[in-house]
Symmetry: none
Subunit: 206 residues, 4 copies
DNA sequence: CATGAATGAGACTTCATTCAT
DNA sequence: AATGAATGAAGTCTCATTCAT
């Protein structure tokens, strides 16, 4: 298990300062909220001038859009890869998908918080785009759950809406988890994977 | 089934316009976020002048604090009453507690959203006060779960942290539920009550 | 020597709360300046309601005018009485006039400060009235100096303008004197009386 | 006799509009007092936008602090140079120091008024800094007086406190002098120099 | 005489954004 | 790609004053 440096969501992008700015924006939006954070805050965090920000992003709103796109990409990438590497049966796939999701939330708490709390401040077009992107991730979970319900592995009568419940609980981890607390990253993933399977009334270990 | 007028969180308070202002603030903070909403928005919503707001609340932040306190009081009241009226066994109590909580979230979607998203903008003291108030509600769920775990009704190995997962999922309902959608208030409550029991690996109906 | 309770400029006035309000206004204007002090400050200091202030004074500006009139009356009264009780010669009269003025400044430091710093904020009419009132006090000093210059007691070639210099220095005492400092009220009066006589190039004790 | 353009206290500072703003602030604070003058007034006087003021000074209070610092610097500079160019004996030095001080007051009446009346509105730290700066100027006078008292030139028994009295009278000139009145700049300086020497009971011309 | 509620104007300050260099 | 200076709009909050009771 590679120890990811926790909150550097964006690693590099061809343009000199883009990653620095994106990470500073993430930090600022996370700490003070989109409307509470100013472009000056972002500039200060990125160690550049206020006006230079506009050489990279045409507006504060587009900057938020870029941050959120990066976060979503990373989440989707992790979940898809986890599902690919899992077995063929729905319970295994769900288990790995949840574990991957929890991993992302823990590695990128701030990004997760920003992604859930600040989407509403996007301009309508960007918002639509992002939501459909996010729905794609949710759809991965729904597909697995549908399959498990169909082949009898998940016996809950409410399979249709269970994905939302599970994903909500997982995302909420970002709002209370402390890296120096009692639960390790791995224990947490394990725990939530079991919660998910139990909620679906599926097969549990032991 | 009593049809509660949906979003009038505060009913009356003795001071002439206080309830009107609080409800307008709730609406404004819910629609545009704490930092996105202006005191002018609140005044307009309350049908009073901007400056008159300050005869009731000394600052925007204190106004938010008051809104959140009212929301929390109502939630806590509902949950406690539900538990009192339930049977003695943990599963019944949990079931009723969840149903009551879901009911609150549906009746007061906006208040629920504001309560989860905007607490961070309180001044430290008010934040601390509110969080401890909120923890009291969570403690009700934890007590029930502990009891159920002790007497063998809930068999999950992770009883300790399950309350958080359940409450997160319930609160998140506020972010997607549409009153004119497929699920009725009652069906939703039923559904989440079962999710909760299943997650705890407790006894399910049927 | 009667020990005057220091800063209660106004003692009583037929109307129930007038003196309390005037003294509170003096305190407020002295502490924060006319424009820095609010009618709310005055009300709080007077222990009454904001709106009640307007039952006594029609505007903030008129309130200031009333305060300043009281201060000037008291000063003028003290100086005139001192001169009356002094001997017939100019040096004695000047000496007693200065001593009385210093006494007022020490007893009413705040009033002196307000009188010198805040007159400018009066409405033109009130300002004119007050200035002419004040000039009457200054005229008392000028009369004495003229007489002393005429009969050869004061030998300065600049008798014409000396009153202004002397009175400026005396009024400025209000800006630095501390009741708990090294100089007593009496020593200070003695000292400034000698400064005045020396400046006029008049006869000095010893 | 060089005709100094009267009230342009600040001449240049390296930053584009800083001097213009400082002079406009001086004018505004002088005319209407610190609390009576608005930042809009200052902006209008400086011919720039309200918000641009904040690119130069972080707050109204810091703007006042800057104005006062410039005024003090100029005063101190003038007094020190005058003393340097005077003879070695205390009376000559005092005479020149007073003449220089009077010259400053006449050339910068508004600055003098602001310096005496508005210091109180500085934030505590700036106030402390400024007061100690101002005390340095006063100390120059005290040093001369001490020396003159030691070598017998000034025979007043109250040498210790005389500087305050003299400087108060000189500063007060700013509140009544009119450039178009009877006294010329030079006559006034001459007059106050004699007042000072006489007050100290020192040697007088003629 | 006394008050609580109300208000329009205006205070300081910050904002996202643009422009000339 | 980078910056300092500039700006109009808007933010929160306070003000002196009025009015109904």
């Amino acid at each position: 298990m590679n120890a990811r440096s926790p909150e550097a969501l964006v690693r590099d992008t061809g343009r000199r300062n883009e990653a620095v700015i994106l990470n500073a924006a993430l930090e600022a939006f996370g700490t003070r909220g989109f409307n509470g954070a100013s472009m000056r805050d972002v500039a200060k965090g990125a160690g550049t001038s206020l006006s230079n920000l506009y050489n990279y992003f045409p507006s504060k709103s587009k900057l938020l859009a870029a941050v959120l796109r990066h976060a979503n990409d990373e989440l989707q990438h992790r979940v898809l890869r986890a599902v690919e590497e899992a077995g063929d049966d729905a319970p295994s796939q769900l288990r790995e998908a949840v574990r991957a999701h929890v991993g992302f939330v823990v590695d990128h708490q701030v990004a997760t918080l920003v992604a859930t709390n600040e989407v509403r401040y996007l301009e309508p077009d960007d918002r639509t785009a992002l939501v459909s992107h996010r729905d794609a991730t949710q759809a991965t979970f729904e597909r697995i759950i549908d399959q498990g319900a169909a082949d009898g592995a998940f016996r809950t009568p409410y399979a249709r809406d269970a994905a939302r419940a599970i994903l909500s609980a997982v995302a909420a981890i970002a709002s209370w988890y402390r890296r120096d607390g009692a639960l390790s990253r791995g224990q947490l993933a394990e725990q939530y994977a079991r919660y998910a399977l139990a909620l679906l009334e599926g097969p549990l270990p032991r």
